[in-house]
């Protein structure tokens, strides 16, 4: 498990943690049932406040990505893969919407944009 905190980032530290753990769950680097470090342990390792790691974990809990069992620790939830996929689709849609807008502001036609995506897709 890898978590990198940037002190110069505009993004608050708790958000940096949630983003990175989310990504690990989505990419399958973390699997349902996996045990996460304790909030105090994580805070000690990263030299950050316990309140910061606590907040990050609370956010992940609220989103249903992790579950905390008193006395045992926090685990990756037995989430529904379908739901997960839907969420990721939403994320892609959001990013695409952004790209479409950028393209429009530069007067790039739909055709050209499609060509670009096609090329990138086939390259990958």
């Amino acid at each position: 498990m890898k978590i990198i905190i940037s002190n110069s980032s505009q993004e608050p530290i708790y958000k940096q943690i949630t983003t990175q753990i989310k990504k690990m769950i989505m990419t399958g680097e973390l699997n349902p049932g996996d045990l996460l470090p304790s909030i105090r342990n994580l805070a000690r390792e990263l030299h950050i406040s316990v309140i910061t790691t606590k907040r990050a974990f609370e956010d992940l809990e609220r989103e249903g990505l992790i579950e905390t069992v008193a006395g045992k620790g926090s685990f990756v939830s037995q989430y529904n893969r379908e739901m997960m996929k839907e969420k990721r689709m939403e994320m892609i849609e959001e990013k695409l919407a952004h790209i479409v807008q950028e393209s429009k502001s530069l007067d790039i036609s739909l055709q050209v944009l499609q060509e670009m995506i096609k090329l990138l897709y086939e390259e990958g």
């Binding site: 105090r40 805070a43 030299h47 950050i48 316990v50 907040r55």
Partner: protein, 289 residues
Amino acid sequence: MDNNILEVKGLKKVYKGFTLNNLSFSLEKGYIMGFIGPNGAGKSTTIKLIMNLINRDGGEINVFGLDNIKDERHIKERIGFVYDENHFYDELSIMEMKGIIAPFYKNWNNEHFERYLKDFDLPLRKKIKELSKGMKTKFSLAVALSHDADFIIMDEPTSGLDPVFRSEILDILASFIQDEKKAVLFSTHITTDLEKIADYITFINNGELVFSETKDSILENYALVKGGKELIDESIKRELVGIRENKYGFEAVTSDVKKLRSQFKGDIVIEKPTLEDIMLYTVRGSKNA
């Protein structure tokens, strides 16, 4: 109630020319609190009052839920105290000094003590007066950690310490609060590295409380603001603290960045502040007021 390791209520101490006035704050088990403020703000006075080294003129202090004067003996068994000035005998060596200190504590743990001496590279036979300031602090910290304390209080622990050891202290303190029953209060006027791990920040200025809150909420609500002088009017001034105008523009701090963002539509730079910025501008603001 039960969760507070420290409760300070309406604390008052009057000196000639300085009053610590109606100070209240509390610290929960399992957390680290940074106690900040400029020199002369009253940090050391507050800590001395908590340790009952000087008499208070009003208010109340509870440690572990017990009155700090009535239950002083019991409380001090469980406090590890690191003091900024040398309170050891200069002519003794570390080992001789330990021989004097250890019997005072019921729960003295020699194994822990010797491990810390080794970890901290402390020379056992050197006289206290021959130790550098940093070494004295290390020795003091080793003692504080060797009698099973539940609460560590440090007065300016980082002054005189190099960055390497300051970083080691972060590890030591973070390890100390791993079981959720202990807490740390440290005062400092340099708000750099120890601020990283602080959960709460209590800021006093001129004997008065400015705030006592979680560090995260402070850093979220405060911001450093910079812009052209033409932007400053009376309504904006109300949102800013410690405005510093120069030839080309102004700099200030705001305690409500959301409100400022919604009011200010013009060209303005809003940056993440450090605790040092917040302290600096607040102190300046109070001087100009």
